[in-house]
């Protein structure tokens, strides 16, 4: 059962388009702050990449509380995209992030195509930023609040606008609240996305029977955590089987076994979200667990695992 292959022989490197990562374990946007919050608990230099909390052009105050509620094996959040805005992000958060060896990916959000484009422009020159992740689960204000991530044409338009403004690799983060996730992935692939990441949260709700009120001030919120893993895995498999750009798997990953399921389904890398809350050491444990798995399976490279799901008899 024990190490057939010594640690140094394991090759964990993966490529997200032009971006090379030391390993496939990343943090998910909004669940790892700006990195510094976990500096005492996790060796930030060991992570494949950190995706920071979603950034908008102007600072956003976020939603009134309560903003979070626990559900069965999951949680709902309605943070309301609270963030410090792009200027303070660059001035106050990037200096620390530049000191980390892991890759830094900036998650961006907007309420118009122009805002996304402008953010991409602003962030492109900044030292230490390795890629952008576009959160398209946001409402398009000009289209009556329909989320960019639910209409292929709108997602494509955002992708194109961002690509025009930046030379950084662009990852488009897909919303699972759609009939056809493959159509969304294909639309952004054709628009030049270097990779897709999925899934963002599923829209959910909770009610307090005693008070007869919603448990979130915002009424609805985003469901994340182990509860959604089967849905995320299915979508990752469907998308990875269809597009040719790399897929980053997200959704309910809490253990190395979970992460490996996504890699087998075709994800080139994974993001750890809610698990950082209930187990702050999750990312490093998952990395160690993946190494252990590779040795057990007699593989020397992580790339032998990716997409290696066995179908048929």
């Amino acid at each position: 059962m024990e190490p057939l292959i010594p640690p140094t022989d394991l090759d964990l490197q993966v490529a997200i388009g032009p971006l090379r990562l030391a390993n496939p374990v990343m943090t998910a946007s909004g669940t790892f702050g700006y990195g510094a919050e976990f500096a005492n608990l996790v060796d930030l230099n060991r992570l494949g990449a950190m995706v920071v909390k979603g950034i908008s052009l102007e600072p956003r105050p976020g939603n009134p509380p309560p903003r979070i509620v626990e559900t069965s094996c999951g949680m709902l959040n309605a943070i309301g995209l609270e963030n410090v805005g792009v200027k303070r992000f660059i001035n106050q958060k990037m200096p620390f992030l530049r000191t980390c060896l892991s890759r830094v990916i900036v998650n961006i959000l907007g309420d118009s195509i122009e805002e996304y484009a402008f953010l991409a422009h602003e962030l492109s020159g900044v030292a230490g930023i390795d890629a952008l992740e576009i959160n398209i689960s946001c409402p398009n204000v000009k289209k009556g609040g329909v989320a960019f991530g639910t209409v292929p044409e709108m997602a494509a338009a955002v992708t194109q606008a961002v690509k025009r403004e930046t030379d950084l690799p662009v990852i488009v983060k897909l919303s699972p609240n759609v009939t056809d996730i493959v159509a969304m992935a294909q639309a952004v692939e054709q628009s030049g996305a270097d990779a897709v990441s999925l899934i963002n949260t599923l829209i959910g709700m909770a009610i307090d029977a005693r008070t007869r009120r919603p448990r979130l001030a915002n009424i609805i919120g985003g469901l994340s955590g182990p509860a959604i893993k089967p849905i995320a895995l299915r979508m990752v498999w469907q998308v990875a089987s269809t597009v040719s750009i790399p897929v980053i798997g997200i959704g309910g990953i809490g253990t190395a076994e979970d992460a490996i399921e996504f890699l087998l389904a075709g994800a080139t890398a994974v993001q750890i979200g809610t698990a950082n809350f209930y187990n702050p050491g999750a990312t490093e444990q998952i990395l160690t667990g993946i190494e252990h798995y590779l040795r057990q399976q007699g593989e020397t490279s992580i790339r032998a695992i990716i997409g290696s799901l066995r179908l048929g008899v």
Binding site: P61, E70, C73, I79, N276
Partner: protein, 261 residues
């Protein structure tokens, strides 16, 4: 400041009243780093349901490497905690947040309502590490009935505090609100530190503001991470901006908080 994810071991668990427990845990890293007013996040149970850690104030921390939690069973997480037995393990994350800021000298008044009493015991212990007279540490405790505070009132007395009590049903001390006990002391106080129901703290903050006595209040909010990362624990601040209870607090100067919302 440093946080630890520490696998603590239960040393003892005492039932102080119907649903009130005191849990003693061996957690040397957290015990050594803890400051009064800080809290830990405990992973209750061994499955993914319940999923999130629960926040608890540090009730006591000893140089021997133990910490104590004082908790009330109100739901699934606290119920799981109440079933812990000596020798079992409990994963803790802490110490977290921003504790009480204290003046150089007293007198100090600590006012606790219900389970809000929890952080005040560690605070009183630290405050009285320097030799001080009882009047320098007035402790006012309020609860529904006597049984919830009898043991705690004794503990504070033995520590060397001047203790006053109030109960809703009049079964111990003043029959009424604990905030009723504060006015006679106010003029002499250097500071008030309080933790308890929001309405109680708002009333106390009002009294302190009127008499220009600094007031430190410990607040609650639903939390996912406890680390300032999820932004879930926001409460409205007096300046119109949201504050994050886990990072800016849980202890806030009363003036920073928007009490009326």
């Amino acid at each position: 400041m440093s946080e630890y994810q520490e696998n603590s071991v239960v040393e003892s668990i005492e039932r102080l009243a119907d649903a009130l427990y005191r849990l003693t845990l061996h957690a040397p890293c957290i015990a050594a780093a803890a400051k009064p007013g800080q809290f830990i996040m405990a992973a209750c149970g061994h499955s993914l349901d319940p999923l999130l850690r629960r926040p608890f104030s540090i009730h006591q921390a000893a140089t021997s490497g133990t910490i104590q939690l004082l908790f009330k069973v109100i739901g699934r997480g606290t119920n799981l905690l109440s079933e812990l037995r000596p020798g079992q393990s409990l994963s803790l994350l802490g110490p977290l947040g921003h504790g009480f800021q204290l003046p150089p000298s007293g007198p100090l008044c600590l006012i606790g309502g219900g389970i809000g009493i929890a952080p005040l015991f560690f605070l009183a212990t630290k405050w009285l590490q320097q030799p001080r007279p009882p009047e320098s540490c007035v402790v006012l405790l309020g609860s529904r009935t006597a049984e919830e505070i009898r043991q705690l009132a004794t503990d504070f007395s033995e520590l060397g505090c001047l203790v006053g009590t109030a109960t809703d049903d009049g079964s111990l001390g003043h029959h009424g609100l604990v905030s009723d006990l504060l006015p006679p002391f106010l003029s002499d106080l250097k500071q008030v530190c309080t933790c308890g129901p929001t309405a109680m703290m708002a009333a106390i903050a009002g009294l302190c503001r009127d008499t220009a006595v600094p007031c430190e209040t410990s607040l609650e909010s639903h939390m996912a991470c406890g680390l300032g990362a999820c932004l879930g624990c926001a409460i409205p601040g007096a300046d119109g901006h949201y504050k994050h209870v886990c990072k800016h607090g849980p202890v806030f100067n009363a003036e920073e908080v928007a009490w009326s919302r």
